[in-house]
């Protein structure tokens, strides 16, 4: 079976889960709305209205308009935050995990190990609070509100006309329009949310990678590579890491659900304009249709992220045979 067959098979497996998610959400609609027609008929018409893009109006403190344009506005920001956090998790996590394993039982290793344990155990909002107190309140070097200072945006033509604001991500749009001051400020206000979201998962990757790296570094083929006179750096990068990386990679796939939960929490704490913020704002303003539509979006994000990661592992891991 080739890779394309595997991809098609993986997509087919996801279909029942997606149908299950829509059924669950529609069941909740049914409970709220007290719809009187047959459940399946009502489900069918709801599903077709989803596909035709007809959407209702949502009215919250932060947004008024149709739900579909709300999703177009908030979803890209969530993706931006997730990708930024994922990059931080991957690079910091692998770097420190390898460092810790290579300097096993040194003072630096013990510090990293203890810090990872505490960061992994503590709820994500506490990590956010500590970072806000440290960087935002005492050191005053990073902004801790996800929205940029409104004074900066006064008189910016492309921001208000709604057309030249194509991605809805301030950082990218400011770069497209060559407005580097706004881009820099948008980047700064992304750092604390992304770091708070990433730290717990960085800790998880470090714990996993440290353990698997230590056991790989004790294996015979590494001793053999050392015997050939290869440099330690080369051995770690080309031989050990490639064998040790799969356990943390699998861990990463299992944490997507936790990452999305963290996304809701972090966006709410930092007022970051993403789907999670939209979800909690809709709940607070009793916009139930908007709440359930956002839940559907989160389910779809989860399913697509798992499919993408599975395909990615199939490509990188030579042991996966389709």
């Amino acid at each position: 079976m080739s890779l394309s067959h595997y991809i098609i098979k993986r997509l087919i497996i996801a279909v029942p889960t997606l149908i299950g998610i829509t059924l669950f959400i529609f069941l909740l609609y049914y409970i709220i709305g007290g719809l009187h027609s047959n459940f399946l008929v009502a489900y069918g018409s709801w599903l077709s209205s989803l596909f035709s893009g007809k959407s209702q109006i949502v009215n919250t403190n932060v947004y008024k308009g149709s739900i579909s344009s709300a999703i177009a506005l908030f979803l890209p920001n969530t993706l931006m935050l997730s990708i930024f956090a994922a990059v931080l998790i991957w690079f910091i996590g692998t770097y420190l995990g390898v460092f810790s394993a290579r300097h096993k039982d040194s003072a630096a290793d013990l510090t990293i190990k203890a810090a990872s344990f505490y960061l992994y155990a503590a709820p994500i909002f506490i990590v956010a609070i500590v970072l806000i107190i440290l960087f935002g309140v005492y050191l005053k070097i990073l902004p801790f509100s996800g929205e940029i200072n409104p004074l900066l945006m006064v008189g910016i033509a492309w921001f208000s006309d709604g057309i030249s604001y194509p991605t809805h991500i301030l950082l990218i749009d400011a770069l497209i329009h060559g407005n580097f001051v706004i881009a820099w400020n948008a980047f700064l206000s992304l750092i604390l949310p992304a770091l708070s979201l990433a730290l717990a998962f960085i800790a998880g990757v470090i714990i996993m990678l440290r353990n698997s790296m230590i056991s790989v570094l004790n294996q015979n083929f590494i001793t053999g590579a050392r015997g050939k006179g290869l440099s330690e750096r080369y051995i770690v990068r080309r031989h050990a890491l490639r064998n040790a990386i799969f356990q943390p990679a699998t861990f990463f796939a299992y944490t997507i659900s936790g990452l999305l939960s963290g996304e809701v929490v972090i966006e709410t704490i930092f007022n970051y304009p993403g789907m999670g913020y939209f979800l909690t704002q809709s709940l607070i303003n009793n916009q139930l249709v908007a709440v359930l539509d956002s839940v559907l979006i989160f389910g779809i994000i989860f399913v697509s992220a798992t499919i993408l990661l599975d395909i990615f592992y199939a490509v990188i891991d030579p042991r996966v045979r389709f």
Binding site: P123, S261, L279, L283, I284
Partner: protein
């Protein structure tokens, strides 16, 4: 060995498990901290007057508008927070609320998950497919999103929040139970039970269930920590059902506006959430060590 009775054998095993558990001193630290939290829960549940608290279920009785924000002192060992609430008594009350809501969630999630995973693997086929796809649906919705969805659809109260957390955490146990049932299903124990004509229910209850649940017991403490964190998080981001329930995350959010002038009002409740989460993680680690067959066999060889 022949004179050794069954009870001394059990006592010997328990002491062996305990020695494995405390072989890492941090596990013991976690256990001691949790015992303090459980003692607090028990005292406030049965005789709150011992610590001078008359109403452990409410927060509004603690409002003291004449006090304001006081840093930790002799009169207020943890200081006070917004509305002059004495943080010491508020934290003592909140620990009990969090522990008492989290325990049933963990037990129900473990039982439901084990039941679903066990019968899915035991009967197999299309039954297995349907149950596991259903489990996947709940696994795909992040727990905060699930709590929000059910809260919006049904009602925002602690019962609904607890049930949503059960739904959010059972898939984990279902996956564990499914994989261990698949192994046990073809063992001699189950085959011989079937061969003497036991019903499926009898085989499941007497032979499969005890083995499956004992392999997921090591996850209990870890889930307990996650559920406590989930309760605190939900209350912290403003989804608490009402403002009168003392809860650690909710207390943290109380002090948030005054973070610059009264950092203790945020840091003290958060410190207790972190202590709970970390000590439960330490115990979880210890339980994984203790129930790991390899570690146990190494220790047995050392001792006999």
């Amino acid at each position: 060995m022949e004179t050794e009775s069954c009870f001394t054998k059990i006592a010997h095993d328990i002491s062996l498990y305990f020695r494995i558990f405390i072989s890492n001193k941090m596990h013991l630290v976690g256990l001691v901290i949790i015992l303090f939290f459980l003692a607090d829960t028990a005292i406030l549940q049965f005789s709150p007057w011992l610590v001078g608290i008359s109403n452990p279920n409410t927060l509004s009785t603690d409002y003291n508008f004449n006090v304001g924000l006081v840093p930790p002192s002799a009169a207020y060992p943890f200081g006070t927070t917004y509305l002059g609430i004495n943080l010491l008594t508020a934290v003592l009350k909140a620990i009990r609320i969090d522990v008492l809501y989290a325990i049933p969630v963990v037990i129900l999630a473990a039982l439901l998950g084990t039941f679903v995973g066990m019968i899915a693997a035991y009967f197999g086929g299309i039954f297995d497919e349907i149950l596991m796809r259903l489990t996947d649906v709940f696994f795909s919705i992040p727990y905060i999103v699930l709590v929000i969805a059910l809260g919006a659809a049904i009602s925002r109260n602690f019962t609904v929040i607890s049930l949503s957390l059960v739904i959010a955490f059972f898939p984990l146990y279902a996956k564990y139970a499914r994989s261990s049932t698949l192994i046990i299903k073809n063992s001699n124990m189950v085959l011989s039970s079937k061969s003497i004509g036991s019903s499926n229910a009898r085989t499941l209850i007497h032979h499969v269930f005890p083995n499956v649940i004992s392999s997921s017991i090591s996850q209990f403490a870890l889930t307990f920590g996650l559920v406590i964190g989930a309760f605190a998080t939900i209350a912290f981001i403003g989804l608490a059902p009402n403002g009168n329930v003392p809860e650690l995350g909710y207390l943290t959010s109380f002090g948030l506006q005054y973070i610059q002038i009264a950092p203790w009002a945020v840091l003290i409740p958060s410190l207790f959430i972190v202590l709970l989460a970390i000590s439960l993680n330490l115990i979880g680690d210890g339980m994984i060590d203790m129930l790991d067959p390899y570690t146990v066999s190494v220790w047995k060889r050392k001792n006999y």
